[in-house]
């Protein structure tokens, strides 16, 4: 088997730190450089560890994992709420069974409550035994503090991590966009930022009481970031993540009509202060990770108004590029939020970029551009279709297998 030596590269580790300028691959493994290796000049492109998507929907496993590979992901954690609540052992076995043969790794998370209705506990112990790495409510909350506290106590007893979104269901009610001038101008029902602040403080207080291991997902407000920073400063062992949309997408700059169904997100996109707080949170580490919150492509959003549309958008193929743009070109910080951060949340550090380990990495060329929707047709249902993003994921290896791109194409990089 031919040894390939990627040279003139910027090799980053999971925390986004540069650890070298070249890397060898032989038989799908990172290898020590040896004479006879075929050199591939990456002309300054980045070689980063395979990314982990902490939450997003998986529908058609083969298609969705292929799309993930085009975005540089080698591991995807399936959301517990899409396309169906993951609240039965059979549903977990079905997902993991369908994904078993694909090189891109799939992890499952379970619903915390039956049907995600927030009323009665799902069998999270059996679901854990079936392979789920955490339990949560996805985009949904637990309306009753009593039920939430009991669920957190039970999960703590079993050592099951909980992934919870800070939200007050009554305050969110029928809201469509974040509270602010834009909601008033558009005449759309709003969601106050306080809905998240109340929810996060509730989770933090109950985590202290029950000892539950908590990861706060879908953070979207500046107040939420402050609450998490304060809890971490107090020594509470929580982690937090945000959807790339809440951090990197500004609907006010969209060429779409403000009433376009593709602009509906849950949680809603916050104002400029909220987005800035999320970006700073990623830089400082208060926000440990960024997820795609990938929604399955849905053609109805093209004809529905924002009030009627299902929230969410496809995004897995563009997360890294969207995040790099939001971080003003800081590829290292983006890699940390999509690699080292998710590993910390999962408690599963993966050795990578180390001799002898399976190649699990992506080549990212920031001198090229990606026209959104051109290669990944599902992005036609996203609000950034047709937008040119700086950067291109040229190749992805997952668990030793090249799952996106070709080595030959890397010859023409730059």
């Amino acid at each position: 088997m031919t040894m390939i030596r990627l040279v003139n590269a910027s090799v980053l580790d999971a925390m986004g730190q540069q650890i070298g300028e070249s890397l060898c691959i032989e038989d799908g493994r990172i290898a020590e450089a040896a004479p006879g290796a075929v050199e591939v000049d990456l002309a300054g492109a980045y070689v980063v560890p395979g990314l982990t998507d902490l939450y997003g929907a998986i529908g058609d496993v083969k298609r969705d994992l292929s799309i993930a590979a085009t975005g540089g992901f080698s591991r995807v954690v399936a959301a517990c709420d899409a396309p169906q609540p993951m609240d039965t052992v059979d549903s977990v076995h079905s997902l993991l069974g369908r994904a078993a043969d694909h090189p891109v790794e799939v992890l499952a998370t379970s619903a915390l409550t039956v049907g995600l209705r927030g009323e009665s506990l799902a069998e999270i112990g059996l679901l854990r035994d079936a392979g789920c790495v955490a339990a949560g409510q996805g985009h949904f909350g637990v309306p009753s503090s009593v039920v939430l506290m009991r669920a957190m106590s039970y999960a703590a007893r079993l050592g099951i991590p909980l992934w919870l979104r800070g939200m007050d269901a009554e305050l969110e009610a029928e809201g469509v966009v974040a509270r602010g001038d834009r909601a008033v101008q558009l005449g759309l029902p709003d969601i106050p930022q306080a809905a998240e602040e109340v929810g996060i403080h509730q989770i933090i207080a109950l985590a202290r009481t029950t000892g539950a291991q908590v990861h706060i997902t879908h953070v979207w407000t500046a107040a939420g970031v402050r609450a998490i920073a304060s809890a971490k400063a107090d020594g509470l062992p929580i982690t937090a993540s945000a959807s790339v949309w809440n951090l990197a997408f500004n609907p006010e700059r969209s060429a779409l009509s403000p009433y376009d169904g593709r602009l509906r997100f849950s949680p809603p996109i916050g104002n400029a202060n909220d987005r800035e707080a999320l970006v700073n949170g990623v830089r400082s580490g208060v926000i440990d990770a960024v997820a795609s919150d990938h929604a399955l492509s849905n053609s109805t959003v093209l004809t529905q108004a924002i009030q009627e549309a299902e929230p969410g958008s496809p995004s897995r193929s563009t997360v890294l590029l969207q995040l790099v743009e939001a971080l003003d070109g800081d590829v290292g910080a983006a890699v940390r939020a999509l690699c080292g951060g998710p590993e910390r949340v999962l408690g599963q550090a993966r050795p990578s970029m180390v001799e002898g380990e399976l190649a699990d990495m992506a080549v990212v060329d920031m001198r090229r551009h990606t026209l959104v929707g051109q290669a990944d047709k599902t992005m036609e249902f996203s609000p950034i279709t047709g937008v040119s993003l700086r950067g291109q994921v040229r190749a992805t290896w997952s668990r030793g297998t090249l799952v996106h791109g070709t080595v030959g194409s890397l010859e023409n990089i730059g």
Partner: protein, 88 residues
Amino acid sequence: MMLRIQRERLGPGVLPSNREFAALFGLNSKRFSAAKPGTLVLHPAPMNRGVEITDDVADGTSSVVFDQVANGVAVRMACLERAVVGTP
């Protein structure tokens, strides 16, 4: 010593299902095999067979559940008599 799960007293969110309780916490022959030789199995009854205890353990040679239940009747009678009649 096993006890009946009193689901009628439990509110929502305390326990997912009898099936999960049995799988994670119930006393079955595999778990009991880890006990020290000579260990006795007790339960004041009524038992939720298949929930907190399996049939083979409840009816097994190490079980003294039915002796415990029979003795429990006598003990309760004695307690009631002392409470009602007083010390002789």
